[in-house]
């Protein structure tokens, strides 16, 4: 799929993204900007030593990602995605129909409210607790799988809002491999989701925005590696 490169007509359009290389939330914004062909400056933040710029642009949460468009900041990844979609209207990531849009927002919120906390929990828990959280995640994946309903992507023919939000799954699978955890997303258990996953990681734009694999595996080993794996 060729990414359409489009220079906007406005003079001196300045787009900056404050992020971190290993954050799925940060990577979501990269995917959206690249899908729209928006030129941007990327600033890598050190979260243990946040830049004055980040603290100025996101004083409320002091977190990444923050998008700064012509000097004006937008924070919270799903809010940023909607802003990007409304500002650069080609290659839309949200549907135009209000009902379809509500459904997309519902599933993105589900991923952030349910899957993300469970995914972080599974990496730090041990033994029986870890087993319990793993089962919880699998229930959530089953729920998400039923929403795919024979579509190529959650967004239909091309990847959209929910697919971008679901990048958490990609990160979770790298983490589980790094830590030698029980495989969560197997082809046998999740045939439909597994196919979707393959399509997602093969997508020309998406795969440009995934953290470099070896470095990413190393990141999880260092960060979470002391917890014992349960098989």
């Amino acid at each position: 799929m060729a990414a359409i490169s489009l220079q906007t007509a406005t003079m001196a359009e300045e787009v900056k993204l404050f992020g971190t290389w290993a954050s799925p939330f940060s990577r979501r914004i990269e995917v959206a900007l690249k899908l729209k062909g928006v030129q941007f400056e990327y600033i890598e933040e050190n979260l243990s030593n946040k830049s004055p710029a980040l603290l100025e642009y996101n004083p409320v949460h002091k977190k990444i990602p923050v998008l700064v468009h012509n000097g004006k900041p937008v924070a919270e990844s799903l809010v940023i995605l909607e802003y990007i979609d409304e500002t650069w209207k080609h290659n839309p990531i949200l549907p135009t129909d209000p009902y379809e849009k509500a459904i997309a927002r519902f599933w993105a919120k589900y991923i952030d409210d349910k899957l993300w906390p469970a995914a972080t929990k599974v990496l730090v828990s041990k033994g029986e607790e870890q087993k319990g959280v793993t089962e919880e995640i699998q229930e959530q994946l089953k729920t998400l799988e039923s929403e795919l309903k024979g579509k190529k992507f959650f967004g239909g023919e091309s990847l959209g809002f929910v697919d971008i939000a679901a990048n958490i799954i990609v990160f979770l699978l790298v983490a589980q491999e790094a830590l030698g955890l029980m495989e969560i997303l197997t082809e046998e258990q999740f045939p439909v989701l597994h196919e979707w996953y393959q399509r997602l990681v093969d997508d020309a734009v998406f795969k440009e925005c995934v953290p470099p694999r070896e470095r990413h595996l190393g990141f999880f080993k260092v960060r979470f590696g002391s917890s014992t794996a349960s098989k």
Binding site: V60, H69, K72, V74, A75, E76, V79, I80, E82, Y83, E86, T87, P98, Y99, K101, A102, R105, F106, K109, Y110, T143
Partner: protein, 219 residues
């Protein structure tokens, strides 16, 4: 062809009230169905199988869940009357950010205020006031968060105001003393028929929380 709108709700829910308020702002007629959360209706379980929670809006048979998602849906479908979100993408992003902030913070802190004691309660009260002060700052000198008229953030936040009396009573503190501008804003909102008809009586809410505390064995 008339629209069929049903709202599955639970009277004290500040989330359900958001939807009632949005519907009132748009002047929409709907059927209100009160749910017993200890005995959820087959309709609720069918319309929100994922979370099994209220509020759920059912528009011509199709369900929409999650209060802020419902409010945006209402705003987009009935876009000609009383728009709740601004038309400028940057201002929309700011409105969504602050509504999300209310969602992330206030419910949990409020719950801790009425259901805990000692240090946990004190911490929750302190954080709660800090959040309200931040929101006060965002309001600034505007009559409403939405500017001259009520908007998305007003809808997201004002429904908590009928819970303030319960928080103050069980937390033993005064929100007005700490955040007078915010209380002034709640009073301004309550002057509107759409708001006063959508929010519950603070004393009724207080009674409800008292009942909850008894049931949970919290004195």
């Amino acid at each position: 062809m008339a629209d069929e709108i049903i709202l599955l709700d639970f009277w004290p829910s500040m989330f359900g009230m958001r939807v009632r308020l949005a519907l009132a702002e748009k002047g929409l007629k709907y059927e209100y169905k009160e749910e017993d959360l200890r005995n959820k209706s087959p309709l609720l379980l069918e319309m929100n199988p994922v979370h099994k929670k209220i509020p759920v809006l059912i528009h011509n048979g199709k369900p929409i869940c999650e209060s802020l998602i419902i409010v945006q849906y209402i705003d987009e479908v009935w876009h000609d009357k009383s728009p709740l979100l601004p038309s400028d993408p940057y201002q929309r992003a700011q409105a969504r950010f602050w509504a999300d902030y209310v969602d992330k913070k206030l419910y949990e802190l409020g719950r801790k205020i009425w259901s805990t004691k000692g240090e946990e309660q004190e911490t929750a009260k302190k954080e709660f006031i800090e959040c309200l002060k931040l929101l006060e700052g965002e309001l600034g000198d505007k009559p409403y968060f939405g500017g001259e008229k009520i908007g998305f953030v007003d809808v997201a936040l004002v429904t908590f105001s009928c819970w303030f009396h319960a928080y103050e009573s069980f937390g033993n503190f005064s929100i007005e003393a700490e955040c007078p501008k915010l209380i002034a804003w709640t009073k301004r909102c309550m002057e509107k028929e759409s708001v006063s008809s959508s929010l519950e009586d603070p004393h009724k809410v207080h009674g409800f929380v008292m009942g909850m505390k008894k049931k949970l064995g919290i004195e």
